[in-house]
Symmetry: none
Subunit: 220 residues, 4 copies
DNA sequence: CATGAATGAGGATTCATTCAT
DNA sequence: TATGAATGAATCCTCATTCAT
């Protein structure tokens, strides 16, 4: 990452410009509503240039998702490393996920419009949760029936709340209530659930890249 | 309704064929992924015929949604009228909703791909739930914080579970567990929750997929 | 014309209804802008009925032109029979032609939109003029060079003035001035030209058929 | 204008090819009778190429008219500058107009089929005439009644003669007779009218069919 | 004869992708 | 590598015409 040739750096810059352009246009809808020309115009490069970086149109959408996923996962991993308690991990993971939703419109829009792959985008977040739940159950902190099914219910809640927030149907601060509900559902006493839901995310360094200033606050 | 002229009956049959074809093709994705030709080929009618029945392509998608909604709502109303207890009503509504999900693949697919209107399609179901929750809270049977937010969480869970079932990721019979979880979340003791989740739907005539009796019978 | 069977009369009525409908719709533009359905709807008959009366769509447009032509010619013939003097005949023919233009919008619209055949529609009128000019030249009343070419110039003027009137660019009463100019061009002294241009059309019985009330005044 | 990049030159060539193709096809009738495919086939380019140059089908028809108009007007202006006498200007303008008619079939066809705008296409020519007539009247050389109406009559004659020539119904050399008739109608003595009608156009560079020199030379 | 459902060729327009420069 | 002109398959939609009832 440190010593790329000048041309190589330029390549990266163009590639990034294309991806950013695509994110910016995502509000229009799915792939069908965004043309390659739209993207290259937004990125301010020639139309043909696109195909020097992506084989198909579809490829850039996947790249955008990968990009989002990567940033998301990287960030999430940092919390993994700073926490131990499964209940806290659950709370932090959920809180982080909701915060992404509140601060990163593109992210949501891709969640919304990227079809089947939207299940993928929360995957990391949920995979983490699964292990936390397992740990929690083993440790006797959580009391639930089927682990996977519970995860499913949580997935549904998270996803729904995220989209509702995105559409302005819910206040952003409901995330705490959601987390509390989920923790209660896992068998935690309400006091504990509430406390965890209210505690801030552990402080870690800022996420690598994002055009949105507020995103800086993610580290909160 | 019984006494339509032959022509009129034929018209209805063609219209239904187009709608059924559209439902059948819905698995491909949204409107963008289904061409009018796909529909007419699937329905085995000429391309031009489509436009004798629907003004735009979009119109048939709306018609399909209306169709689904109507059947769903009509059916749901029957349960409304046979039950009184809010907890039972909740359980029945949820159970019915999950049942629809299991028996009508198309229904789900449309839930999934019809964009914003997907919130509409469960609307009736959820509007019912809201009043049941209110009743339940008033009657002291449910103990929850914010009613609307709780409804949101339920919405998310229901929707997600439905889609998971549709995609074969979950066994159909988890619906009972979901209902039980939801009832527990509403504050019912686990025993009651389990009992309600297990009790069968009140007996009413079997759900039908279309408001047009003749055509349906002809297809079954 | 007197004793047609009832069915035959009905046939005629339907045919006429179709033709009238077409005239009424002519304001939309040429054949391309009027669909067979438009015509049958306007005529209040079934779509298929159209093809019991006309082989193609084009056929009805020709029929309309023939119809217009026939009425026009029939009427024109009456003047032929009541006048002798070639200058008067010229004046009357021109005046009648301009009057048609003023009172019969359909007529003009067909003139305007029927493509090449529009040269045909004035044909009778001009054929008459040709013989009058010849008579006039022979009789020494007109003094001109090439007869056919003069007729061409007249044709151009008449046609243009008619369309200008139709489009509201010229006052209807300019027809007198036009006639006067034409007669002058034929070599008549201005006083005579003016007198002829101002004299009314000979009174004859009303034209056979037209949906426009004012048309009754044509007999003027 | 001289120094266009190669690409730019290519663009112009394609654009011109499309416009020329359209002119060539105009004999078929209006826009309705010419499909975009017809045009691109005639121009020997791919169908899609059309839309790199014109937003709609309609746009190319307007472009053709603008093109014709521009060439016509530019040329006409040259005569304006070399003559003073209103009668000579009238004669020259008319003669030039008729000449265009004889040499540019396409020009006529567009005159004929371009709907309302056909009045526009002769507009420049006639606007000139109007000022010449006014000058002539003021100077006492012309003796007529209403100036505008006279102009209308002239418009009609010119247009008609042009189209008759185009259709082969009239010999090309009648233009002299037409000019003579028009000048006589304006009150000039026949000898003068004839003399003016016969005098050749002032010598200026040959009329060109297109404002784009390179392309034109390439085609000639 | 009257009707209108069915049909498919035809037409405008979009856009992903290729390729020569 | 960057570019953008060229391309044609794909798509929506219209409408003249046919034909069974």
């Amino acid at each position: 990452m440190a010593d790329l040739s000048r041309t190589e750096r330029k390549r990266q810059r163009t590639r990034t410009a294309l991806i950013e352009a695509t994110r910016k246009l995502a509000y229009r809808g799915g792939q069908e509503k965004i043309s390659v020309q739209d993207i290259t115009e937004e990125a301010d490069v020639g139309l043909g240039t696109f195909y020097n970086y992506f084989e198909h149109k579809q490829a850039i959408f996947e790249a955008v998702l990968d990009d989002i996923q990567e940033v998301f996962d990287t960030q999430l991993d940092r919390f993994n490393s700073t926490l131990k308690d499964p209940a806290m991990l659950m709370a932090a993971t959920l809180k982080y996920t909701f915060q992404q939703a509140q601060h990163n419109e593109d992210w949501l829009i891709f969640l919304e419009y990227s079809g089947r792959s939207r299940y993928q985008i929360l995957h990391q977040s949920l995979a983490q949760c699964l292990s936390y739940i397992q740990k929690g159950v083993t440790a006797g902190r959580f009391r639930i029936g089927d682990i996977h099914f519970t995860l499913n219910l949580i997935h549904g809640m998270v996803r729904h709340v995220i989209l509702e927030i995105a559409q302005g149907n819910l206040e952003a601060d409901v995330s705490e209530e959601a987390i509390r509900s989920i923790l209660r559902m896992l068998g935690l006493p309400d006091v504990v659930a509430r406390a965890l839901a209210q505690s801030p995310l552990p402080a870690v360094s800022a996420p690598r890249r994002s055009p949105l200033p507020e995103v800086i606050n993610w580290k909160l």
